[in-house]
Symmetry: C2
Subunit: 339 residues, 2 copies
């Protein structure tokens, strides 16, 4: 990942950088709606005197079903066309794979995607349907990296990492730019805070940059079973290891090297939630909002409804980022079954 330490790019890691990214990708991604829901806001308010209104940014409706297309599109836009001649490559079993395939197709560029052979069938089919050239690898990180490096050397394709890269971070930050302006224009409110899920930290770091200087406070939401960001914030050291048992499969990655210091600097606090809280939030969203979010995307709402948030969080107008909606429909019923 040489690109990710490119000093020229790194200087751009500011709110202005997010705005420039937005100018580049705006016409290529969907401006997803911001929804509200009275009954969920009432639950979030509870017995508080100050009412809480939640504003849900629906990146589950984004192209490819997740925010990832923003970063992928931005990364491709920032490369010169001769740098794209040999195609682009990544390894991912999830939303970044689909996003890169879509973004590359839109630019007429070949996308090589390395996926673990045990990836879920719908994700493989989706990546294929977007024109991605899939190579399967073994399931572990070293196996995936080995296959990726082999193809990269053979094809000279450009590596586009999923989160640990300035252009990816700036692209993902456009989620909050839109959420802030839509909340203002469509509802007449200024956000007091936003809760963003954290896995590798591309979305969180980007949103933190986008919020800087605006007065919007940024909080992170993480599964307790994959709490590397929370631990890292406490110790002051990036935690490179993370367990992979949480149902929130998009958040099973450690926070990236570039992402961590941004998060340390600009994110106020990381809240963790249990598996039960995540699934209850996912069910509530289906039931009351009539929309499908993947478990990872339900984590910020789970935070907003938790007792810890009521105690240490913020009241008022709270942005909730629904990061994606890619969930195996045949598994939904099992996931949301009432305990």
């Amino acid at each position: 990942m040489i690109e990710s330490r490119d000093p020229e790019s790194v200087t751009d890691l500011t709110r202005q950088g997010v705005e420039s990214a937005y100018a580049l990708i705006k016409s290529k991604v969907k401006k997803t709606p911001v929804l509200t829901n009275e009954s969920i806001s009432t639950i979030a308010t509870g017995s508080d005197e100050v009412p809480t209104t939640l504003f849900f940014k629906c990146e589950n409706f984004q192209k490819g079903g997740a925010f990832k297309i923003r970063g992928a599109t931005h990364a491709l836009e920032k490369l010169r066309s001769e740098e794209l001649d040999n195609g682009v490559i990544t390894h991912s079993s999830g939303n970044h794979a689909q996003a890169l395939a879509i973004a590359a197709k839109a630019k007429g560029v070949r996308a090589y995607i390395v996926m673990p052979s045990n990836s879920a069938r719908p994700k493989i089919e989706a990546t294929q349907s977007y024109g991605g050239h899939i190579t399967f690898s073994g399931p572990t990180a070293p196996e995936r990296e080995y296959v990726t490096e082999t193809i990269r050397k053979k094809t000279n394709a450009r590596l586009i990492p999923p989160y640990d890269h300035p252009h990816i971070i700036l692209g993902q930050g456009t989620v909050l730019l839109e959420l802030m302006s839509q909340t203002q224009e469509e509802y007449g409110h200024k956000l007091d805070a936003v809760i963003v899920p954290v896995g590798g930290g591309g979305l969180l770091a980007g949103c933190a940059l986008a919020a800087h200087g605006t007065g919007v406070r940024v909080f992170a939401a993480e599964p307790a079973l994959a709490d590397d960001c929370s631990r890292g914030m406490e110790t002051g050291q990036r935690e490179p290891n993370v367990a992979t048992t949480t149902v929130a499969d998009g958040l099973r990655t450690p926070v990236g090297v570039i992402n961590f210091p941004i998060i340390q600097k600009y994110v106020e606090k990381v809240f963790t939630v249990s598996e039960e809280e995540i699934l209850a939030a996912m069910r509530l969203v289906l039931e009351r909002m009539k929309i499908v979010v993947e478990p990872s995307a339900a984590v910020p709402l789970a935070v907003a409804l938790s007792d810890r948030w009521k105690k240490d969080g913020v009241k008022g107008n709270i942005g909730i980022v629904f990061s994606g909606g890619n969930v195996d429909l045949d598994k939904i019923a099992d996931l949301i079954k009432k305990p």
Copy 2:
């Protein structure tokens, strides 16, 4: 239902009447989003030379989970406050019951709801949670009407029927007013046609009035298993009987007496679809759009994707009304199972 034949009200059954209704209810109902979806529009286009773009009006996100709140709110707004003193009453096992409970609560009026004792538990709970006073009746229409009439006589509550009433029709028509203006303002397109589901015909008649004189062509979508509207249009006689076996439970009612002549006059054609087509459309919406629609609400999309529509329908910018999203989550998995 004496009110529904009130000659003074009937004179209002015009596009202007829908606009006046909108002025009354606008601040009391949700302006639901209009979504698009590239992959579904691509499927709808098929091998046609003229591309079709579908614009989905998401009344599944409406208060109470369906468009019904529009008509109920309008009906209450049109009554003088002394006419509301004794409360309002209706019989319904579905979305109208919840809508009337919500609208009445907002006005501080008591709502009596007669529900068949075999109603689905989530619907009973929802109606109760909105403050509706429920009385159970036997499941047949005469039993329900008997109980309703008994309570009405005792309480002197005002009957608010679910669809066969001018104020209800005009209120429901506001769905299309919004869809047309949102498609223009947010996407820069004028609708060529709209496909609306038909059960009792409140929504369809209202939309037909709203479209009149605008150049937007109005089509109806109906389950083949409950095709009373389609048959009525062919014979020129309202068909008072309808089978109740379709999965689209909101469309198991015959078209109303006031509704039928409006539909005859302004609706171009009724398309019917099979149960399989309805469920495939519902699955597609969950999978690609990440939103929950109830089977009744999937019927217009099922039409847009059918061979009959490709042959006899309209290409271009087509509005699709997602009428509601109230479906038992525990049953979703069974409903959408791939055949």
